[in-house]
């Protein structure tokens, strides 16, 4: 997070992590497509000849709250290929929240696990633990055959800590839900740590609703958040737990 008091600007870094070809870039493209003109900048893709992400994709989203505070969201992807280990670590640096995009196909289960362990290792390199990091998990490519069953995912998700979303990023399904889930967790964590809402007279709920609206959603934040299976969306706000 970067806070510019003079210009009343807050920059939040969100990172989409996951194995190669799991749909991280597709998620960003889908978000870019639904974002209202003026609220999102150009999607920047640094890619190789084979259309794979070389360094990262970067989607800037800007929202101005009624209090006058501008919130700039910078959404990054990391390159999934194993060889880009050092790049992944660099992109992850300074992340405020992570969305882990998993490939739902049973054949990719191991790749998901490896990538998740890689995330854990890289966070540790930056002196962070998974426990501290706002995290959502998205099971993408639900439309393909031979995917892990919803029952299985729901059962495991119910035991887990982080919210899990099902998605078909190619068709835009589940993309906004995952993003709002991630932003909600991240904002809650940053707010709890830095007391942002009070300092800036900021209406967190209105802000979240505003963003959902800018992303072409008619549903309110609460409804979007409820799209997840398992996990706890309040886990980072202990005071909200009765």
């Amino acid at each position: 997070m970067q806070l510019d008091f003079v210009n009343r600007e807050l920059t939040i870094k969100l990172v989409y992590y996951g194995p190669a070809l799991s749909g991280k870039t597709t998620n960003l493209q889908a978000l870019h497509k639904v974002a209202a003109p003026g609220s999102s900048g150009r999607l920047m893709t640094l890619e190789t000849k084979d259309d794979r992400t070389l360094f990262f994709d970067l989607l800037p989203l800007t929202f101005r709250a009624q209090s006058g505070l501008a919130v700039r969201l910078k959404v990054f992807t990391v390159p999934g290929q194993v060889i880009h280990a050092s790049t992944r670590r660099l992109v992850l640096q300074g992340a405020d929240g992570v969305a882990f995009i998993a490939d739902s196909r049973t054949s990719e289960t191991q790749a998901n696990t490896d990538s998740f362990m890689d995330l854990k290792d890289n966070l540790r390199e930056h002196g962070l633990s998974l426990r501290q990091m706002p995290l959502v998990i998205q099971f993408n490519k639900r439309d393909l055959r031979d995917v892990r069953s919803e029952e299985e995912i729901a059962k495991l998700a119910a035991q887990g800590r982080e919210p899990v979303y099902l998605a078909v990023a190619m068709r835009g399904q589940g993309v906004v839900e995952s993003f709002i889930g991630l932003l909600h967790l991240t904002w809650s964590a940053l707010d709890a740590e830095h007391d942002l809402a009070r300092k800036f007279g900021f209406d967190s709920e209105g802000f979240m609703n505003g963003i959902a609206e800018k992303l072409g959603e008619r549903r309110g934040t609460a409804e979007l958040l409820s799209a997840c299976v398992g996990g706890a969306l309040d886990v980072l706000r202990p005071e909200a737990v009765p």
Partner: protein, 475 residues
């Protein structure tokens, strides 16, 4: 000014303060863009960064204004318009206009990148078509104005409507937006490349450091092993000397006559004791050689007498096994500058080995001759051959047998301590596997080389080459 580390630069560019206009666009290209805009629209363009620094200037001369600058009062007014333009903030709308004393108008367009103001475009001067005559304010201001001339020049000035200017401004801005986006992309790619390379380098460096630590530890262990070997060999030799000494005394009858089987047993004890002593001496030699504490006592050495001595020593052994031992020394060999005792040990060892591995009715041949040895080792392909590859002359000692031979792949390794080509043959042939490693080290101590060749049709040739001292080459 020190530039920030690439990873910090990346953070600055993506989530931090962002890039400056100057970093995003190439100055040269920006000048061309401005020039082409001016040519297309007939209106000049200048580009300033957020601090008001002029980055590109494609202003077109307007003769009316040039004329006004020759007049005293009008000149001041023109200058104050220019400075007002420089300080004009386009505001939230992103575009603003200012009128000059001549009726010419300037348009200032904000340049934004990633939601931040990075610079301004100044377009103009242009004259709205609604302006039909020289403004009366100018006539009042400048008494020296030649009105006919000014009117004539006004007809030549560029005419653009405000509406068209809006569109031109938007177009210029969006063209620059594309340029800035590409610029940022290139800038990020570059910073990211640099940062990844640094990161990879850091990773490799830390791995290297770990390897170095492991290597140092192994080296230390090797030194400890050599020390251990030296100490143990020394401690083993002391009681063994007593065993051999006392068994010799027994054999000499000092402790009373011994007969028959008793003598046979004591002889065996003494022989085995000496065998053991030889082995321990070998270990001691090796450890001395490894620790570099063995000193060679070099002197002049007649090769012929060395060969003769070894042949004579080994002849009974060869005869017992039914092997023909031949020695051949080229006439007129120069003397060597070497440690005679150690070279004798080398030759003895090789001949002993040769006899050991040659079956009955085979032959072992020792030859000594003058040979050119090639350059010192390591001077083969690395360049500087003309300097390093000068042929050296030396004496070549060859020990050829007709034994079981050594496979090509094993030839380097037989010189390792404790190495046996066929460990199952150890029992059959005896030996510790120390001899050849000592041979190699002793030969190297003489600046020489030892290698293995095949003896056709079967068998092995050990070739020891000892270079002559330079002084011995000179008459």
């Amino acid at each position: 000014m020190a530039s920030p580390a690439p990873r910090d630069r990346m953070t600055e560019l993506t989530v931090g303060a962002g890039a400056r206009l100057e970093e995003l666009v190439d100055r040269e290209s920006l000048a061309q863009l401005a020039k082409s805009f001016a040519e297309l629209s007939g209106v000049g363009m200048r580009v300033f960064d957020s601090e008001g620094k002029l980055l590109a200037d494609a202003s077109l001369p307007v003769e009316l204004i040039s004329y006004l600058t020759t007049l005293r009062h009008a000149k001041n007014a023109v200058e104050s318009t220019v400075s007002a333009v420089k300080n004009l903030d386009p505001g939230a709308a992103g575009q603003a206009s200012i009128d000059g004393v001549s009726g010419g108008r300037y348009r200032v367009v904000a340049l934004e990148h990633d939601g931040r103001r990075v610079g301004r475009l100044v377009l103009g001067p242009y004259f709205p078509p609604s302006l039909v005559d020289i403004p009366s304010a100018l006539i009042e201001l400048e008494p020296a104005l030649d009105l006919d001339r000014a009117r004539g020049l006004l007809t030549l000035a560029p005419r653009v409507t405000d509406d068209a200017m809006d569109r031109l401004g938007r177009h210029a801005r969006s063209a620059l937006d594309v340029v800035m986006f590409s610029g940022l992309k290139a800038l990020l790619t570059g910073s990211m490349h640099l940062a990844s390379v640094r990161e990879s380098y850091r990773e490799l460096q830390s791995k290297n450091d770990k390897l170095q630590v492991a290597y140092d530890r192994l080296k230390e262990l090797d030194r400890l092993k050599s020390n251990f070997l030296a100490t143990v060999s020394h401690e083993l030799r002391t009681p063994l000397t007593s065993i051999i000494g006392y068994s010799e005394m027994l054999l000499e009858g000092i402790a009373g006559e011994i007969a028959g089987e008793q003598r046979e047993f004591v002889t065996t004890i003494r022989e085995k004791g000496e065998q053991l002593l030889g082995l321990i001496k070998g270990l001691l030699d090796l450890s001395k050689l490894e620790s570099g504490t063995m000193s060679l006592r070099k002197g002049t050495l007649e090769v012929a007498s060395l060969v003769r001595d070894v042949a004579q020593t080994m002849a009974p052994h060869a005869k017992k096994k039914g092997i023909l031992l031949l020695a051949e020394v080229e006439a007129g060999l120069p003397t060597l500058w070497a440690d005679g005792e150690r070279l004798r040990q080398v030759l003895l060892n090789l001949v002993e080995n040769a006899i050991k591995f040659t079956p009955a009715s085979g032959s072992v041949r020792i030859t000594a001759k003058l040979a050119s040895l090639g350059g010192p080792s390591g001077a083969t392909d690395d360049g500087g051959l003309v300097l390093l590859g000068a042929k050296r002359t030396g004496v070549e000692l060859r020990v050829a047998d007709t034994g079981i031979g050594i496979p090509e792949a094993e030839r380097e390794r037989v010189f390792d301590a404790f190495y046996q080509v066929d460990s199952s043959s150890t029992r059959e042939q005896g030996g510790t596997g120390l001899g050849l490693s000592i041979v190699k080290r002793l030969v190297e101590g003489h600046d020489g080389t030892v290698r293995i060749e095949s003896n056709e049709p079967h068998g092995t040739v050990f070739v020891v080459a000892i270079p002559l001292r330079r002084s011995t080459l000179q008459p």
